[in-house]
């Protein structure tokens, strides 16, 4: 009998051959837990997207797929990047919920249940993992990452940017609809925000064990961070357009008021200005300056709207949250029987 609520996982793969067998084992444990202790929840598939991996991940996954029939492998024709690979995986999924997690065991599959519980509790559509301690135990790295996110968040006016994490659980319909409209430069999490505002975070342990064991870290450089930020900004509407618009309106308004003041001064012979012609010049400058800023802001806003429209931002999207209560009850029952 099919479970009512089905979960798919998606993992982009680039350099994970060392970790994939353990990851699949951990996913199998979650699968067995759900099968044994619940009737309404099941992990039906784990989709691995090989993004032109630089090691022998393909061979490792081929063997794992033979051993575990619920493991599916998609091979991309070249390296497209983490987000496009995730999008490809999501578009091949059928689950009511889709969990994305990294290949390197930084994200523990059991925490999918924690994230799903949080989403179901609050009838949210996305639950991001929030680390309960510093991920890399490197003060500088963690500080830079957090500061960068805050800066971009302020620039685009999206308060969820600081929550973005590649370990997420998303409602399947929302995930697939978002994936369907994403282009090659669209930032997946920004696009997810076009479909829902019901975004929550759940604390889980994301400590990067590899630092302790002296293993390689996954590649993240300053340049990578900047590229990341650029994609986030290009997928969003810049708050500065609104600020520019406001400045333009204010300047324009001030120029009108000053013009009136100057006109009245001349009419009633009020001698407030020492240099003749100064008032006229400053009025003209503020008037046309304000008008220019206003028009530029209009144009930029319009271009931004067109870009978002081209990027696929929807007019509306409908979801079905009727099974959230059932999901929550199933998880609570599981947690009562098993120490996760």
């Amino acid at each position: 009998m099919q479970s009512t609520i089905q979960i798919s996982t998606v993992t982009p793969v680039y350099n994970g051959s060392k970790y994939l067998p353990k990851l699949v084992e951990a996913l199998d444990e979650v699968r067995t837990l759900l099968n044994t202790h619940t009737t309404d929840l099941a992990l039906i598939e784990s989709i691995f997207v090989i993004d032109d991996a630089i090691d022998n991940s393909a061979e490792v996954l081929a063997k794992l797929a033979e051993e575990y029939p619920w493991v599916k492998v998609i091979t991309l024709s070249r390296n497209y990047g983490q987000h496009p690979a995730t999008i490809a995986g999501i578009l091949h999924s059928s689950g009511d919920w889709v969990a994305t997690l990294d290949e390197d065991l930084q994200h523990k599959p059991k925490d999918i249940i924690t994230l799903l519980k949080k989403a179901a509790e609050e009838q949210a559509d996305i639950a991001y993992a929030l680390s309960d301690e510093a991920v890399h135990k490197s003060v500088v790295r963690d500080f830079v990452a957090m500061s960068f996110k805050k800066l971009v968040s302020a620039l685009v006016g999206n308060k969820h940017i600081k929550d973005f994490n590649s370990f997420r659980v998303m409602r399947g319909d929302v995930a697939r609809a978002t994936a369907a409209i994403c282009r090659h430069e669209t930032y997946l999490d920004v696009a997810l925000g076009w479909f829902t505002r019901r975004i929550v975070v759940a604390e889980v342990n994301l400590y990067d064990d590899r630092n302790q064991s002296g293993e390689e870290e996954s590649g993240y450089s300053v340049w990578g961070l900047i590229r990341h930020g650029k994609r986030m900004i290009m997928s969003s509407k810049l708050k500065v357009f609104r600020i520019g618009f406001l400045i333009g309106v204010i300047a324009f308004g001030i120029s009108i008021l000053l013009s009136l003041y100057a006109l009245l001064s001349v009419m009633f012979n009020v001698d407030t200005v020492m240099n003749k012609g100064w008032a006229s010049i400053i009025m003209v400058v503020i008037f046309f300056g304000g008008l220019s800023i206003l028009l530029i802001a209009f144009v930029l806003e319009s271009l931004s709207d067109i870009a978002l429209n081209l990027n696929g931002k929807p007019t509306y999207f409908a979801v079905d949250r009727s099974n959230d209560k059932l999901a929550l009850e199933s998880i609570e029952k599981l947690q009562n029987n098993v120490d996760l």
Binding site: E45, P69, K72, L91, S94, A177, A180, I181, G312, A318
Partner: protein, 315 residues
């Protein structure tokens, strides 16, 4: 229906009885004649779909006469026939099942004491047999929710009991779309493109998020042809002609809009029975089935529709 000869790997020539000139039947015919142009000379025989005894017997006598004239050791029967659609009522499906069983009984009588290896290929419906199930990975996980599904399953069971057949290949096919306009029946994707070009509203029975598995009729035709030419085995075999990649109506809509270059006007009819997901595990896909990419086909279909290039209907 058509009667023609084909050279298979085990018999040159083998005789083929080809029933059905709808979407899939026509696609198979197109593919066969593309690779075997001499088959185009075969006359199409008007077939009697009713159950009136005298007429039924007459048509089958003439069919068997033609088969005997070919003097073949191998007979292949393609059953891509059927009037009942997904929303058919019980009365319609009942008549169709009666007819199908009569055909099998008649074949049984004809094939008695004849040394003709007979292989039967039936186009069944994966969606009708597994309606409402996601990630189908077991052929026995059956869910019959409408008369159409019951008809298809009953036909399959009738074939399982037909001991006179050397082999039975049951092709369970998911949602079909086509480059052709056959019998005036267009699939969902063709309707969306056609209406998109002419700025008309398309009525969709399902929800935006409904997941289905889409396969092209030409890909089905190629797989069936390869099975006829190459595959020799005994007994009953189920082949799934599915893509293995689920696509939501939303995704289809976006692909069509991208190909057509304009927004589609859609009206969704949310009858719950039509809004259920039906998806398949990729490993269910038949080894000889090689589905072509959906978006490429949508673009091709759009180009064809613009040029007014519908394949001519040979029926």
């Amino acid at each position: 229906m058509w009667i023609y000869n084909l050279n298979t790997e085990t018999c040159k020539p083998a005789t083929v009885l080809h029933f059905g000139s709808g979407l899939i039947g026509h696609a198979i015919w197109k593919y066969v004649t593309k690779l075997n142009p001499e088959v185009k000379q075969s006359k199409q025989i008007p077939y009697y779909w009713g159950n009136e005894e005298k007429r039924f017997n007459q048509i089958w006598e003439s069919i068997f006469q033609s088969v005997e004239q070919q003097n073949t050791k191998e007979l292949h029967i393609i059953w891509a026939a059927g009037k009942a659609g997904f929303s058919a009522k019980t009365e319609d499906t009942k008549e169709e099942l009666i007819h199908f069983r009569k055909v099998l009984n008649t074949l049984d009588v004809f094939l008695k004491e004849k040394e003709i290896a007979t292989h039967f290929y039936i186009m069944s419906s994966a969606g009708g047999i597994h309606e409402g199930i996601r990630m189908i990975n077991n052929p026995d996980n059956v869910s019959l929710k409408r008369p159409y599904g019951e008809l298809k399953y009953a036909q399959e069971n009738s074939l399982r009991e037909a001991k006179m057949l050397t082999s039975v290949s049951i092709f369970r096919i998911s949602s079909v779309y086509s480059h052709s306009n056959v019998s005036g029946r267009l699939g969902l994707i063709s309707v969306l493109i056609k209406n998109g070009i002419s700025n008309k509203v398309s009525n969709i029975f399902g929800a935006e998020r409904t997941l289905r598995d889409y396969v092209l009729d030409d890909d089905i035709a190629k797989c069936v042809y390869l099975n006829i030419i190459k595959v020799r085995r005994k007994g009953v075999h189920i082949e799934y002609l599915v893509d293995g990649k689920p696509s939501s109506l939303n995704e289809i809509r976006l692909m069509v809009e991208k190909a057509v270059g304009r927004k589609l006007y859609l009206q969704y009819s949310l009858q719950k029975s039509n809004a259920t997901d039906i998806t398949f595990a990729p490993e269910m896909q038949s080894p000889l089935f090689n589905p072509s990419p959906l978006y490429t086909n949508i673009k091709l279909l759009y180009q064809n529709l613009l040029k007014g290039n519908f394949s001519s209907h040979y029926g």
